[in-house]
Amino acid sequence: MAIIAIDKEKIARIKPPVIKTGVIGWLKENLFNGVINSLLTIIIFLFMVKFVPPFIKWAFVDSVWFSTSQVCKECEGACWSAITKNFRFMIFGIYPYELHWRPFVSMLSLFTLLYFTYYRKYWSKTLLYAWLAGLVAMAVLMKGGIFGLTPVPTEMWGGLPLTLLLSIFGLTAAYPLGVILALGRDSKLPGIRYMCVTYIELIRGVPLISLLFMASIIFPLFLPEGVTINKILRAQAAIIFFTAAYIAEVVRGGLQGMNKGQYEAADALGLNYYQTMRLIILPQALKIVIPPTVSVLVSAFKDTSLVVIISLYDLLFAAKTVIQKPQWNGFSTEVYIFVAILYFLGCFSMSNFSRKLEEELDTDKRS
């Protein structure tokens, strides 16, 4: 009987075929699996070779970053100077130049609050109070008039702070309104139900622009003589009423996803309607709908850009103003790319947050 000596160490040292691992294996698996995919890969690769290097050349190699507009006009590449030279104007709009620190501090505190909200371990009553205090402090800082701060009329507010203000206040106010509307739509009382349905469907059927028009031209007619409400507040009201209808639909989804047993259990305990909703139904329903609520927030954030149409000085309007200056005329691509990056960062981090929450809140692992 021949003894076959097996060199176990040697076997362990033998590597799998090159074709299955490493770069080549990966390429074969992901880019060249099959004829059609190989063709697609080659076509896309050719396209990228044709378009990416010129773009990089335009954006980075030939570009100028800190020059006058004259240099820009002579240069081949991108003129990022249009942004760096007008940076403060684009961010803060027509807010008085020497007072820019105030919106800056406001935004800083907003970002701090957002940072803490991002991590669920910080979620507590303290954070909620911090938010309330923070919002009030931001409004005071922007407006001035007390504590020796020079008052700044709201007509001068603009840029990124205005965009953030409209979206944050918009959502904070729209959320409770939306919950009430959703409860109304789910109510057993036909009168209240129909009223809520009409409101929600009416608002969801019309574009935000029509509401903004209403806010800017019709709303003043609604008020008795002598009473005026400034334009930002009116636009804010339009955004709130608009967003509330969408939040109501999202919350209704959560209410419908509720198990009937939860209602029955609450009834069996002898809780009345308000107790049932406040203690049993809403805490669960609102938790389910946090991810879609964040997507409503994302669209509300994007939709604030529409106030350009009623000439409010938000981020987009400030960017447009820069382009209309004669010396920076013709560099709109650069300016719009910059604004797009800002919006993208905002929206993308919000949707990331929603994805993270979705995973963390998935506590109902039983089903």
Binding site: L189, G191, I217, P224, S305, A340
Partner: protein, 382 residues
């Protein structure tokens, strides 16, 4: 029992109370408005629709001049809105489905590019995208005299895109009739083939027959008519192109912005729908020996469509509603025309009411259609 302990009576009381509060608020607002209107000497009502509009509109699908009435101007605006929404929805469905399927491709490069497209386009406000395309058009393309001419009969300049179209010929009417006839016949064949398959199990190549008939019939008519191939090529006259099909930069920018933005959302819906059909369904279909095309047509798509269609409906409505942003780049859609009307006549309440009514009509009719389709595709369910 006192009435506040009786839940039925309490319910009635709550409703009456709510109605009363809403009614009071409405009365207060209406009253204020009436007083304000009287002070500003604005007569309410829709009589202004009959008056002469006295403004020109850049793009008119129907005959219109400044001497026509406001009513006709508004109809022109509504038609423009319909035009851009219709073309937009079709393009956006095509691109959205392609990108959504590409997102699920096994090709790493393709799925990554689709992912980047979806993420970037979803997260940039549509208004900004409109501005971007509009500015790009104006700044990057040469004037009409140096218009780019990438292929014969297509001119791109900063005044828009001019395209050669077949010169009008009496045969065109019949070609269109043939096309419609072809579609109807294909539909009947599909029904018949399904019935035959249900009864006998024999398969019929519905797709290729339909393609053949739908394209073949018009082709035959075209040949019978003597193959009229004369083209209406745009030509430079004065400062702009004449003839052919001319699309303004506003229209193209609006279309591009709306289509690119919305198609990213459509792609997401398509991806989610296809992914929701469990892998087991495809495997089961394979194990009973269905062909690849049958797996897709008979097993995966019917289930995926049921999930895809509701979000798709809302995206189409979104596109229609977002087309109102046309006002920002100067395309004469309904909102833009209504805004001009409001500025000229001061009839702001009526104007905004018309805008809302117009979009509500679009929204409601789209959702009626989609609900019908939804119901139809739900019947597939056992």
């Amino acid at each position: 029992m006192p009435f506040w302990l009786d839940s039925d009576k309490r319910a009635i009381f709550y409703q009456i109370f709510t109605f009363l509060m809403v009614g009071l608020l409405a009365y207060y607002l209406v009253n204020n408005t009436l007083i304000n209107l009287e002070k500003q000497n604005i007569a309410s009502g829709f009589e202004f629709l009959e008056k002469e509009a006295a403004f020109e509109i850049g793009e008119t699908p129907i005959q219109y001049s400044a001497a026509d009435s406001y009513g006709r101007a508004l109809i022109v605006g509504a038609l423009n809105t319909l035009k851009v929404s219709f073309v937009g929805i079709i393009l956006c469905l095509i691109i959205g489905i392609i990108v959504g399927v590409a997102r699920l491709s096994t090709n790493w490069l393709v799925s990554r590019i689709a992912l980047i497209y979806i993420e970037v386009m979803q997260n940039i406000p549509v208004l900004l995208q409109l501005f971007f395309w509009y500015a790009l058009f104006y700044e990057s393309f040469p004037g009409p005299r140096q218009a780019l001419n990438p292929i014969d009969g297509l001119f791109i300049c900063n005044r828009g895109v001019a395209m050669g179209i077949p010169a009008s010929h009496p045969a065109h009417k019949f070609i269109i009739i043939a096309l419609v006839l072809g579609l109807v016949i294909s539909f009947i064949i599909k029904k018949w083939a399904k019935k035959r398959q249900d009864e006998t199990g024999t398969d019929f190549p519905v797709f290729w027959t339909s393609v053949g008939i739908t394209l073949g019939l018009p082709l035959v008519v075209w040949l019978i008519a003597g193959a009229p191939s004369e083209m209406d090529i745009p030509a430079l006259k004065g400062f702009n192109f004449k003839g052919g099909l001319m699309m303004s930069p506003e229209f193209i920018a609006l279309l591009l912005g709306l289509v690119i933005y919305t198609s990213a959302f459509v792609a997401e819906a398509v991806r989610a729908g296809i992914q929701a059909v469990s892998r087991g369904q495809t495997e089961a279909a394979m194990s009973i020996g269905l062909k690849k095309s049958h797996i897709l047509n008979l097993v995966v798509l019917p289930q995926a469509l049921r999930i895809i269609i509701p979000p798709l409906t809302s995206q189409m409505l979104n596109l229609t509603k977002n087309s109102s942003l046309a006002i920002a780049i100067g395309f004469p859609d309904f909102v833009s025309v209504a805004n001009t009307t409001i500025n000229q006549t001061g009839q702001s309440i009526e104007g905004v009411a018309l805008i809302m009514l117009c979009y509500l009509t679009f929204s409601l009719s789209t959702s009626v259609f989609m609900n019908w389709y939804n119901k139809k595709s739900k019947l597939v369910e056992r």
